[in-house]
Amino acid sequence: MKYKTILFIVLVSFLTGQVEPAKELHRNPPRVWALTNAIIHSSPTITINDGTVIIRNGMITNVGSKIKIPNQATILDMNGKHIYAGFIESWLDVQTATIDTSLQAYWNSNMRAYLNATDIFQPKDKMMKNLRALGFTTAHIVPKGGIFQGASGLVQLGDKPKVLSNNVAQVIEYVSGGWQGKEYPSSLLGTISFIRQGFIDASWYEKSLEILEKYPDGNEPIQMDRSLSSLALAKKNKQPFIFRTNNELYIDRSNNISEEFDINLWIKGNGYEYRRIDEMPASFMIVPVNFPGKPEVADPYNSLQYSIEQLKHWDMAPDNAKKLAKAGFEFSLTSDGLKNRQDFKNNLSRTIDRGLDESKALAALTTIPAKKFGQAKRLGQVETGFIANLVIVDGNYFESKSKINAVWIDGEKFEVSPDPIINAQGKWILIEGNNSWELTISSNGGSLKTDSKSIKLANYNLDQDRIRFSIETDTLIQSGVTRFQGIIKNKSVSGRVTYADGTNGLWSAKFDSIIKEKVKKLKKDKASDLSLVFPEGAYGLDSPVPSPNTILVNDATIWTSGPNGILKEWDILFQNGKVKKIAKNISLPRGKALIIEGKGKHITPGLIDAHSHMAGESINEGFQNVSAEVRMRDVIDPNDVALYRALAGGLTTINLLHGSANPIGGQNVIMKLRWGNFSDKLIFNKAPQGIKFALGENVKRKRSYGRYPETRMGVEQVIRDAFTAARDYKKSWETYNKDVKLQRSSLPPRRDLELDALVEIMEGTRLVHSHSYRQDEILMLTRIAEDFGFTIATFQHVLEGYKVAERLAEHGAGASTFSDWWAYKYEVVDAIGYNGTLMANAGVNVSFNSDSDELARRMNLEAAKAVKYGGLEESEALKFVTINPAKQLKIDKYVGSLEEGKDADFVIWSGHPLSSYSICEQTWLDGKQYFSLEQDKFLRGRDSKIRNDLIQKILLSPDLGGKKMKANGRSGNRFESCDAFDSYTYEGEEK
């Protein structure tokens, strides 16, 4: 049986060799070899000492320790060598071109699913050589460019790369054009929607083609599309989809997409997986070993530019693979992402030093990628019947000092770093004329010793068996430089010496003895002894926030924001995360509750901000004038320290909104500031869905790429048009869904994420929050909404709301305004601080919002401005940041006031909550304490120690290369605001 397989393979390779006609003469080099006396790592867990590998015609025909060597085979003695299966480079980028001139192209050039990496791979000799030098014999080549990037392939890294598979997986990357982009999408928000719509389009395309095939008559042909066709096929075949990711958040996002569309998810990792390892999906990951370079902390002030999160990553990144292995992830390793690919082997050794099993590492280079890439029977092991891809190392590959001598690919040898044919190292006795000196040759040079002194050799060189060096001296021989050259043979050297005056003589040397060189011991890398906090960096939590069952606050002034108004010296009891009871006196058996002495303190509901951009990694998808398809929930950044700072100001709930770049923006997400939790756990699940609209200057501003509209007249038409289209869309689905015959024989309507959201608005299940300033546009939007049968939930900013308060009240819209901003742009020239009070007095539900990470920290003081401007009663003013925004967001059943049965979201203030002199002492959410002055003090102490220890460690560490860390790269402040003075953020996004 075995014999037959071998014969079959041999036959096949023979035949494939015949495809191309001989160019000059037929080439038939010898192809049968026996590699003997080696330590063979035939698989990650099996090692054969004193083993032999037989190679015939590119295949391994036998492996073992005492096997018969065929007569035909030429024996290569591998004494002392380690033989591994050829390594598989799991990621090698192939850049694709942007222009697809095919008539079968998708409407957007970011869709390139039709591409095959194997069609565009242009191997460069140098690159191939570099990969082989690391032990790679096969590479997974991956198209790069656009969002749907095409199909990856697998190739052998020989001189003429042989394709083993031309369709391993479909590849997806989160790329966008940014503010200056020339095409949709311009942001991460848009990219995620583009991916989702792409999958939907592929399914629709597939279904439409089926119908067209069955019923060609009566159905209008659709545009052929190569990419949608490839996507549909890949999905149907359960082929993997690999998402390139930048950090742990992107992995989570990819997982969400894969669950939504039921696709086979693979992850191209990033080195940050360890951060939220418990949240990572159990998908196959291709992980880089690109550890960050040493932060520049020698200058104490410069070190201030690094966040703790960055310093910790420097320390912990090399533990990533170990942690993934320990948690049971299936992963392969890649040299991709390294600043210098040559660092791969060293970095891998560091990972091993830090505790990754060698067998796991080897598997990640051989058997795992072989299996995942569909080559488990051909690649990844030194086993009979496998392709003869081998790595020959002069020691253990995973020790940093070992060297790769050669790799074999398809049974052909490629030299990498062969052993020298002669080892000249040792002590020699050199004879020149009558002189006899001691010559010492070491690994990096040598010296000549006379009775009195030692002279260092200059220009030492050993080329195969030819040795040369020179000495400069004024006393020996002649004054000047004397040059020696010679040939080493059988432990002796003989050659010619050229004296300083140009005359020649003879010299010889005899080997005397071996010298023991002191090997510079590389310090073994040690695993980081730091533990993770959530989120990583300053103020991250060591462990989940404790959840006391019962909490009693005694004798406090309770601002209920409910029908009970302000209760002086009352008690409030919280149980199971809810308000249980509010009464003059509540007594509990001792030890049954956590008791907080509230005397002198004021308690308010957790504050709510109906307009925020904190913890949003991307804010605007502004390329098109309607982007209802994009969702803020897709881009939550739970690591944003703004969350913690806002908690420290008593804020507990925010409305994370899309920016104001287009008339119809993206879908918002309501979040509770559950600091430390991962993205999905921040979402306020019971809150209804919503969407951001925007009117006025921001949306009509002229764009470099020319976007409609540029007037308020056009804005009105864009919105009206969008809802008209949505109405037609809804109708087409209703018709289709009702009619079975139609469903069988007609093309289905194309599901459109943008129109879906608009239909939800018309159906009343998606709330509209519209950025607005001037009274005309406010009035206009209420009229459109009424024409299409829905109500605007809130007008945001609404700085001229006071001019049309009766219209707002009549329409039933809430007003979420700035307390006192004005004069920063022309459309707010009539904005007044009295806006809130005026609207409230005219019967509008009013809230004050921040639209700013900074202001969000002191919303209680914003509320105080309603007292100042217009004399609103204090308890009513506080409602501007508690129950009123809760009502606007339709979450007032759960939050916004302290009433029995509502969420235990509350703040303990040192004094009157509207006084500038009071500070927030504790913030509770769902009955858990997420902020307290005491805990904050602890975190400060902990973090300053971590910071200091790390800087010391960095200062004492050698420079091991790696990409320089961008100071403050991931944790700088964002400038989140629709209309802050600087309306462009660092991302170039407009709020």
């Binding site: 201030l304 530019q305 966040s307 960096g537 300053a538 103020y539 320290v641 703004a642 700072r645 420290a648 200057e697 006071y802 308060a805 009766e806 006192d820 901003w821 004005w822 004069a823 920063y824 742009k825 022309y826 020239v829 009539d830 007044i832 601080g833 009295y834 005026l838 007095n841 005219a842 019967g843 990470d853 900074e854 920290r857 003081l861 105080a864 401005k865 007292v867 100042k868 401007y869 204090e874 509207l914 006084s915 500038s916 002199y917 500070i919 904050d936 973090d943 961008k966 100071a967 403050n968 790269g969 944790s971 700088g972 402040n973 003075f981 600087d982 309306s983 660092y986 991302e987 170039g988």
Partner: protein
């Protein structure tokens, strides 16, 4: 009497649309039965008398002369006018509309431009600002490396000349960035950034050295025609600064900028004031030993580094105070900050909530500010002989909920109406017409 006071207060804007600059004080005014917050000398329960624009007396009881206008405060408060130590007010109307911005002149080197000549006394922002008690502002230009000269303006007057209290008050320099910016949209290579910094620092040195050489040329008395040196507006404007007579305001936030600026001032023996001062708390010893005052602009800033304390910006004034650094609190002097100077008192209160003693907080927006910008002989506290630039409030002006009832600038009774009040009353009227509002 209370009603009379409120009546006076309200009548001004019920009948007026535009605010009218006040005439000079014609008769002595006595505010009695109030709490007089002198700032310099504690709180006096009693009366304050001012005449011809100057404070005459503060005492428990003052008997008025026959021609004195007497106002019974019934326990209300009198404070010195708040001082914006830096502000773009009057130079910027709508920051997003470039044609309304006179705050940022073109080019890097504009020591000669003067703020007050572009100050628009009819800016709508001015009345809304004085409505919150800010009666004096140091109006500053703000672009390039050397931005120009600031002027101290009173928040009332028919023309910029009327409104000018002092000109010039100082020269403004935006200190070059001393670190390497790598985050965000800032795409310049580090090499280029270092080059740019070197160029900027060199040009500052050169400015002083050439400024001194120029000043020597100009000040040398000579009759020889060939020794006459032609005038240069830029260098001419620099003479008082390069010779250390007038202060140079160095806008610097990051610690390396602050330290570099201090060492530059020592090297050339210049008089400097640090403006911004976000990191000033990190280098208090240096600031104190060298007697460098700080105008702290950042109470309501986010911490500049992720690991900094959440309340770092709030508590920095307390840290400066405890370390003995001379400081005052300002709101942003940027073009974009012009409209929000009216929230200056809240900045001081915020600092007080996070550790600054309350009376120091008040001082930090009155007398301390006056001392640093060099007008403490005239304003900043309620002392006989100083300008009667003060206001009556219904409470602590640092608390947001407090309202300013009446202000006087050099004894002139300021029109307390402003655009916001006018619009407020206009639209109250709309809702009265609609029957939505009853009164």
């Amino acid at each position: 009497m209370k009603n009379l006071l409120l009546g006076l207060f309200f009548s001004s804007f019920i009948f007026a649309n535009e605010q009218i600059p006040a005439p000079t004080q014609k008769q002595p005014i006595l505010l009695k039965n109030g709490l007089i917050h002198t700032v310099s000398n504690g709180i006096i329960k009693g009366a304050i008398l001012f005449e011809n624009g100057k404070i005459m007396r503060i005492a428990e009881n003052i008997s008025p002369s026959i021609d004195t206008k007497v106002i019974d405060l019934k326990g209300k408060h009198v404070y010195p006018g708040l001082i914006a130590a830096v502000s773009g007010i009057g130079l910027v109307e709508i920051n997003a509309v470039p044609v309304t911005n006179d705050h940022s002149e073109r080019g890097d080197f504009n020591p000669n431009v003067r703020a007050n000549v572009a100050y628009n006394p009819d800016s709508k922002i001015i009345p809304t600002t004085r409505s919150n008690g800010v009666l004096v502002a140091n109006v500053i230009p703000g672009s390039g490396l050397v931005s120009g000269q600031s002027s101290i303006m009173m928040m009332d007057g028919w023309t910029w000349e009327d409104a000018t209290l002092i000109h010039p008050s100082g020269l403004h320099i935006n200190w070059p960035n001393m670190g390497i910016r790598t985050n965000g949209r800032f795409q310049m290579s580090s090499k280029r950034q270092i080059e740019r910094r070197k160029t900027a620092l060199y040009s500052l040195d050169k400015m002083i050295e050439e400024g001194r050489a120029y000043s020597k040329l100009r000040q040398t008395k000579t009759r020889k025609a060939e020794e006459y040196h032609n005038e240069d507006l830029r260098f001419e404007s620099l003479m008082e600064y390069v010779n250390g007579k007038l202060p140079i305001y160095i806008h610097a936030n990051e610690v390396r900028q602050i330290e570099a600026a201090v060492s530059w001032s020592k090297r050339y023996n210049l008089k400097i004031i640090i403006v911004g001062g976000r990191d000033a708390w990190r280098t208090t010893t240096l600031l104190k030993t060298n007697n460098i005052p700080v105008i702290y602009e950042n109470v309501t800033s986010l911490p500049s580094r992720r690991f900094e304390d959440y309340d770092q910006a709030y508590k920095s004034p307390a840290l400066l105070y405890e370390a003995g650094v001379q400081f005052c609190i300002a709101s942003s002097g940027s073009a974009g900050g012009a409209y929000s100077v009216r929230n200056l008192p809240n900045h001081a209160a915020m600092a007080a909530a996070y550790g600054l003693p309350k009376e120091i907080a008040l001082r930090s927006v009155t007398l301390s500010a006056a001392e640093i910008i060099g007008i403490d002989k005239q304003v900043g506290s309620l002392d006989p002989g100083k300008d009667a630039t003060l206001f009556i409030s219904n409470g602590d002006p640092l608390d947001i909920r407090t309202n300013i009832l009446q202000a006087y600038i050099q004894g002139r009774k300021v029109d307390m109406n402003d655009k916001h009040k006018i619009l407020y009353h206009k639209y109250q009227e709309k809702y009265r017409q609609l029957g939505i509002l009853k009164e």
